[in-house]
Symmetry: C2
């Protein structure tokens, strides 16, 4: 299983992915589900992946190979907009799935889904979600986060606390709490977490941060959140409607 | 969609169900998904339902009709144990589904799932979950809550704060927070919430409490939790690993 989260705010983007790959409980590996295509000063494109690992790796690999090819159908460096990039990712996945599905289906689902985030000169930062059908939707101030993979456990904290006016630092803290909730409730989502923070109009990638389970900041965040939440619940009044 | 939750503790049981039935966004009704079969002094059996409403209503209706029939195959009053009751619920669902599935399948899934909780003289209180296949699993101190329906959004708060040693009042407060999280994240789960609290060895049912959205206690609980959670998140340190 996988959990990837993208948050779009006026200040920029927070993109986070877990890194556990499992084809069963005894076949667990650590993989990278967050790929970047950066042309500093012109564009930063980040592709986060969930679903069939052979499919997602093929899509990312082939798009990286097509960089600079000059072929507008596949060259992300030539895409005029982020939605064009999402279209390329969806089209590439359709190709990969079509070529493989009759062999793969006996073993499982060959499809995948993606978050495509970043900025291209002339546009604001954008964040899109490519469905396993290859079509896509876009985040907006009204829907400022998108998720793929094991999305439900980590959604309530975002629904409660993330605002379109949140800062990047606030959003990143909430992203980590969202991952904490997911990891607690689903063993097949696991650390390390890859996090990329992008500042609007910087048109360059900050380094991807890889947070291990043992990272002191993340340990402290999880501990203080757990303690604070339990103290909060304890402080709330008990049901009074049963009568004496 | 539906969300039903059962919690098994030494003090007894907390059983809660939402009451929204929807076959699409324009066909929404309020139904009861929590049925009781009570023989005071001998047994209390509570059946919570999720899934196809025609199926769940047929199962509950036919088991209520069979009460006192003296037929050990279907008479819940004769079941020697709660696991035998779960077996009866599963067998009745299989019968109902078998009879209907070829007509229902073109329109949707004919199956259902159930939580079966309560106590029969000679046993401690028990809580079981009947899958849509008709087989079942049981709660224990290690797994002290079971869910059916839209289970994921409301699971993190229980994973964090519910303990096998929690009191019934604490568990009921957490159950309501679990419903709050679910209702916020899934429009098709909705109030009122039916709640039944059962005290170990009472062998009698307290009245089912029906909590409307406007109930002053629940309003206060949700408001104070939301405020407290936002204050907690604000108080936590921001990521410090990006450098200056």
């Amino acid at each position: 299983m996988t959990y990837c989260l993208g948050i779009l705010l006026p200040e920029g983007l927070v993109l986070a992915s877990d890194s556990r790959s499992s084809a069963g409980f005894d076949s667990i590996a650590v993989v990278c589900k967050l790929a970047t295509i950066a042309i500093p000063g012109d564009r930063l494109v980040v592709i986060q992946s969930a679903g069939n690992l052979a499919t997602t790796q093929a899509v990312v690999r082939e798009l990286k190979q097509a960089l600079g090819s000059g072929n507008p159908k596949w060259d992300v460096a030539l895409a005029p907009t982020m939605s064009a990039v999402a279209g390329i990712v969806g089209a590439k996945m359709r190709d990969v799935v079509l070529m493989n599905e009759k062999f793969v289906k006996p073993y499982g689902d060959p499809t995948a889904s993606f978050l495509v985030g970043g900025q291209i000169t002339g546009e604001p930062p954008r964040l899109l979600k490519v469905y396993s059908a290859g079509n896509f939707v876009e985040a907006s101030p009204r829907t400022c986060f998108l998720q793929i993979g094991e999305a439900k456990y980590g959604k309530p904290i975002l629904d409660r606390a993330l605002e379109p006016s949140s800062t990047l630092a606030e959003a990143e803290k909430l992203a980590l709490l969202s991952f904490d909730a997911t990891i607690r409730s689903n063993l097949s989502v696991g650390a390390p977490i890859d996090i990329l923070r992008y500042r609007t109009d910087s048109l360059t990638a900050d380094p991807v941060i890889t947070l291990e389970d043992t990272d002191p900041y993340w340990l402290e965040l999880r501990l203080r959140y757990a303690e604070g939440l339990n103290a909060l619940v304890t402080s709330l009044p008990e049901p009074n409607y049963h009568g004496a």
